[in-house]
């Protein structure tokens, strides 16, 4: 994913740079070089740099456009060989790129520029341009190519061909409504008709051109048209009509200060009157012609001086302006470069910051997740170990119970069989066997209790309370003449947890105490009370609390000093010790017996 992102970024950056350079190259190529007030050599070196720049970014169209511009610049310098060389290089590139419109234009331009130096080559290039434009049916290009091709044909004195192409150009111009181009086509055609001595047609087409020009009120071209019609009449030797048309042209050419045409008109009039042997008029118009000629000459000199002065001043100013512009442009480029560096650095900083922030967040999330996973894995390991240990313990207990329990049951059964199978055993032995049987039975019960306590970790106070209540209820059923009560003091915490050994031993002590009261005391009332009492903890040297469980009866008591402790009492003491408790037995012959068990909380 990251590699793809890097690749995409590089491609994007490269494209941005290329498109920027292309724009610069195109903007230079689109300059109107005829209007540039810088030396031609500078123009050529400018476009050579453009060619190199275009080559660097492999921008072939830009390179071809720059070649075309150099060709044009050399053409203006009169270096036609260089112009042709660069023009042909441009054509090759355009052809390679498949830009047929530009190829056609380039060929046509080459041909037209060569028309007075090498008419055959000019004709060849023009034909190539024409063929390409025709294959693409590009009428906008074709109208100019046909017109220029007509000019080539006219120079080659192929007048019918010239007329054919002028006509074709005219058709397209009419079709696309090129109102400026149409009268030029008419004039070209009229010129050819004039050369062919088809004066009627020549006049017709000059008139058509004239009508169009009259519509625009273009005095200059109208004056030219009048003179041209006059020339046709002159060729027909219709002198009066020729004079009329030339007189129509004169005021317009004078008004427009079109000196060359005015001079030409005077010359024509002088020649006509000379032919007509009207020497006065001929002399008059020749004088006019000479005056204009002189004035044109002096005017031309003045104009030349003025033009040179203006040109010098203009060039000087333009150079200064150009210098300032260059400085400004350089400064602007420098500012732009600095801005680009600043913006780029900022963008980079933002990106790096963002990447850092996102990585930090991702890492933080991962750490949080790992911590949680770690906690849960630990918890799982703990609970799994606990579960497996408990299950293992339970299975061992089960085996213990099944095996030893079965063996003890077998012993009981065997003792019973001995007792009942042998009728001649003495009373002493029978009592002994009965004792062993009861002991074994007690062992089974204790084994079961131990196994249970081993598997059960804790017993709640409420559970123990419920079990003691259940026992008391059963005792009530067993002895209806005795009243039983079971009380728990308010200060006792009902949520206290006993270990299973504690719970079982407390229960068994209560059970033994109640059974003894029922069996030996002949009591009418037996009370079981659980409470909390203060307890001096010797080790911690502080006051603590302890549970006190009392089983009290109101029956016959006994003298503790005289009576021998039986199994039941010894068992109770043993159980009390097991749970780190103390057992106190107090008895009075009249008031009854109290068994008190105290265990720390």
């Amino acid at each position: 994913m990251q590699k793809a992102f890097l690749f995409f970024t590089l491609i994007l950056f490269h494209n941005l740079l290329c498109s920027q350079n292309k724009k610069e190259i195109d903007s230079i190529n689109n300059l109107y070089i005829q209007g540039l007030n810088i030396p031609q050599d500078s123009i050529i070196s400018l476009y050579e740099r453009n060619i190199n720049n275009a080559k660097k970014i492999k921008y072939a169209e830009g390179e071809a456009d720059a070649l075309s511009k150099i060709s044009l610049a050399y053409g203006y310098q009169g270096k036609y060989d260089e112009s042709a060389k660069y023009g042909l290089d441009a054509v090759k590139l355009y052809e390679k790129l498949g830009l047929s419109e530009k190829v056609a234009y380039r060929y046509a331009e080459l041909g037209y520029s060569l028309k007075y130096r090498d008419i055959e080559k000019a004709s060849l290039y023009m034909q190539r341009g024409k063929t390409i434009a025709e294959s693409k049916n590009n009428e906008v290009v074709l109208k100019d190519i046909y017109n220029n091709y007509g000019v080539i044909k006219e120079i080659k004195n192929q007048l019918d061909s010239a007329l054919y192409y002028y006509n074709k150009s005219l058709d397209i111009k009419q079709k696309i409504k090129d109102t400026i181009g149409i009268p030029y086509s008419y004039s070209n055609m009229a010129g050819v008709y004039g050369i062919q001595k088809n004066f009627e047609k020549a006049k017709e087409y000059f008139n058509l051109a004239l009508i169009k020009r009259l519509q625009w009120k273009d005095s200059t071209t109208i004056a030219e048209n009048y003179t041209q019609i006059g020339e046709v009449y002159l060729a027909e030797e219709k002198f009066d009509q020729a004079i009329n048309w030339i007189h129509k042209s004169l005021p317009l050419s004078k008004a427009k200060q079109y000196q060359n045409l005015t001079q030409y008109n005077y010359k024509l009039l002088s020649d006509i009157y000379k032919t007509k042997k009207n020497t006065d008029s001929a002399l008059h118009y020749f004088e006019q012609f000479s005056t204009i000629k002189d004035s044109i000459h002096s005017l031309k000199v003045e104009q030349s001086i003025a033009a040179l002065t203006i040109e010098y001043e203009t060039e000087k100013k333009e150079n200064e302006i150009l210098k300032q512009r260059t400085q400004l442009a350089e400064k602007e480029i420098e500012v732009k470069r600095k801005n680009t560096i600043i913006y780029g650095s900022l963008a980079l900083a933002v990106l790096l910051g963002l990447i850092g922030f996102l990585f930090y967040n991702q890492q933080k999330l991962k750490n949080r997740q790992l911590k949680k996973e770690g906690e849960l894995t630990t918890a799982l390991a703990k609970i799994e170990t606990q579960n497996h240990l408990q299950e293992q313990r339970l299975r061992i207990s089960r085996d213990l119970h099944d095996n030893i329990g079965a063996q003890l049951t077998f012993i009981i059964s065997s003792l019973d069989n001995i007792k009942y199978g042998f009728t001649d055993i003495g009373e002493k032995l029978e009592n002994k066997l009965t004792g062993i049987s009861q002991f074994t039975r007690q062992t089974i019960f204790e084994l079961r209790d131990t196994i249970w306590a081993m598997n059960k970790n804790q017993i709640t106070f409420e559970d123990l309370q419920a079990r003691i209540s259940n026992f008391i209820e059963q005792a009530k059923v067993a002895s209806e003449t005795t009243s039983f009560s079971f009380e728990i003091a308010a200060e006792v915490d009902k949520n206290h947890l006993f270990t299973s050994v504690e719970g079982m031993n407390i229960y068994r002590i209560i059970q033994e105490a109640v059974n003894n009261a029922l069996k030996y005391a002949d009591a009418s009332e037996i009370k079981t009370i659980i409470s909390k009492t203060p307890f001096k903890n010797a080790e911690a040297l502080k006051n603590d609390e302890q549970f006190e469980i009392k089983v009290t009866d109101n029956g016959k008591g006994f003298d503790i000093a005289e009576i021998e402790m039986g199994n039941g009492l010894n068992n109770m003491k043993k159980r009390a010790r097991e749970i780190n408790g103390q057992l106190f037995i107090t008895s009075d012959l009249v008031e009854g017996t109290t068994v008190s068990l105290k265990i720390p909380t």
């Binding site: 941005l16 963002l354 991702q362 996973e373 849960l376 799982l380 606990q386 579960n387 497996h388 068994r508």
Partner: protein
Amino acid sequence: MSVSIYIFLFLIISISLLLLYFKVQKAKISADHFNKIDGIELEIERNKHQIKVRGIGLNKYNFLKYNLDEALIVQPEILVH
């Protein structure tokens, strides 16, 4: 000016791509994490349930009846080794 716009566009596109990339990564990491967590929690629940079943069995032990057979419930699906 145009270069600034290009830089701005480049920045916007880069930021968008970065955010998208990290969002996808985050979703992937979270999905993996939650899968793992779910698996562990399921295991914990299974163990808890087994302990609970054992506890229910042991609570059935009656101190008067000594019914240890009913209290010791073996769960054969637990592999103790």
